[in-house]
């Protein structure tokens, strides 16, 4: 049963006509965090210095740096998860294949423990 707010499969929204923020992992969050960072840094600079022009510069710089910073962090985490997922899948498959056989690493381990005792 589809949850509330689920977008239709295949629906895309392309920012500036080329970045699909709905279907690209981490893209939507990067843009949103970038916007938030831009707002915080720009507003904060304005409140501190009352300089409009420089605050706008800080806001744009903040948007770019926050967006790219979160993008790198998110993609790194995603890659890490993918590697762990692959290792888990491989481990589960090997366990199913070798459990109980002479290739079972757990059996080898308990066998060596018995020979030590």
């Amino acid at each position: 049963m589809a949850g509330e707010g689920d977008s239709e499969p295949g629906k895309s929204f392309k920012l500036l006509g080329f970045l699909d923020v709905q279907n690209v992992p981490c893209a939507r969050d990067s843009v949103l965090y970038g916007s938030l960072g831009s707002l915080v840094m720009g507003l904060g600079h304005f409140l501190a210095t009352s300089r409009v022009r420089r605050s706008c510069d800080v806001a744009v710089g903040g948007f770019i740096s926050t967006m790219l910073g979160y993008w790198f962090y998110c993609r790194y985490t995603l890659a890490h998860q993918r590697i762990q997922q692959r290792m888990l899948k491989e481990g589960m498959r090997n366990r199913a294949l070798f459990e109980g056989s002479y290739l079972d690493p757990e059996k080898k381990q308990t066998g060596s423990e018995r020979s030590d005792s």
């Binding site: 920012l15 970045l19 893209a27 843009v31 744009v60 770019i64």
Partner: protein, 227 residues
């Protein structure tokens, strides 16, 4: 296969294509950052708030040296990583030869038995219901799933190119030269491609169809091949 009016990539069916799509997403994010900056600077320029006197010459020189270098590093490092990954020596399980002609492909499986067949496009008048126009062929290339396949591509007459977008493969077929590529289909399925180098009147009518089947099915198919 691509849907009508599709601009983006087809779904990835090989690990290399998945990596290429991830790199494309990364490049688009960097492009978005650059476009945002350029849009902002353009707005300032057009409203008269930015001129050649706005920033000190030395400062601007430093900025527009450091920033492009940073962009280059952000793009070049992942790009080179994938480039070298595509050229890795990966001990293929099967070698297939693809020879381009005007206007069909010839495939040779010479690993275990000497099998050669031609692959012509199915004409639209002979197309069964539900099949894809200008993409189907009379004989498909059969490969086992999740096995590395080496493809040696050449041509008999003029330049052709053996390309399958969803597998991330495109290799020029040059007469008198053997080009090598490899791929590994991640899942069973049928993958379509088209000749990607202009080769005459029927350049658009010499498609490529690769059918990836489970290894057991591939073995039973190959055992039925005439020796």
């Amino acid at each position: 296969m691509a849907n009508h009016s599709q601009l983006g990539f087809q779904d990835a069916s090989s690990p290399i294509m998945e990596e290429l799509m991830r790199f494309h997403d990364h490049a688009m994010m960097v492009a978005l950052a650059i476009c945002s900056l350029v849009l902002y600077l353009l707005t300032l320029t057009l409203t008269g708030k930015l001129s050649s006197n706005t920033v000190n010459a030395q400062v601007i020189e430093i900025i527009w040296t450091i920033l492009p270098a940073a962009v280059l590093i952000m793009l070049a490092l992942p790009s080179l990583r994938i480039l070298y990954m595509m050229d890795e020596v990966n001990e293929p399980n099967l070698t297939l030869k693809a020879i381009g002609h005007q206007w069909y492909w010839t495939y040779e499986y010479t690993d275990f038995k000497d099998l050669t067949f031609d692959s012509y496009m199915t004409p639209t008048t002979d197309l069964p219901l539900g099949h894809f126009r200008l993409l189907e062929t009379d004989h498909r290339v059969i490969v086992p799933t999740r096995s590395t396949v080496r493809v040696i591509v050449t041509a008999d007459d003029v330049l052709h190119s053996w390309a399958i977008p969803s597998l991330g493969v495109k290799t020029d077929a040059i007469p008198g030269r053997l080009n090598q590529t490899s791929f590994s289909a991640s899942r069973p399925g049928v993958f379509y491609g088209q000749c990607s180098e202009i080769c005459g009147a029927n350049h658009s009518f010499m498609p490529i169809v690769v059918e990836s089947v489970p290894l057991a099915n591939f073995e039973s198919w190959s055992s039925t091949l005439p020796s």
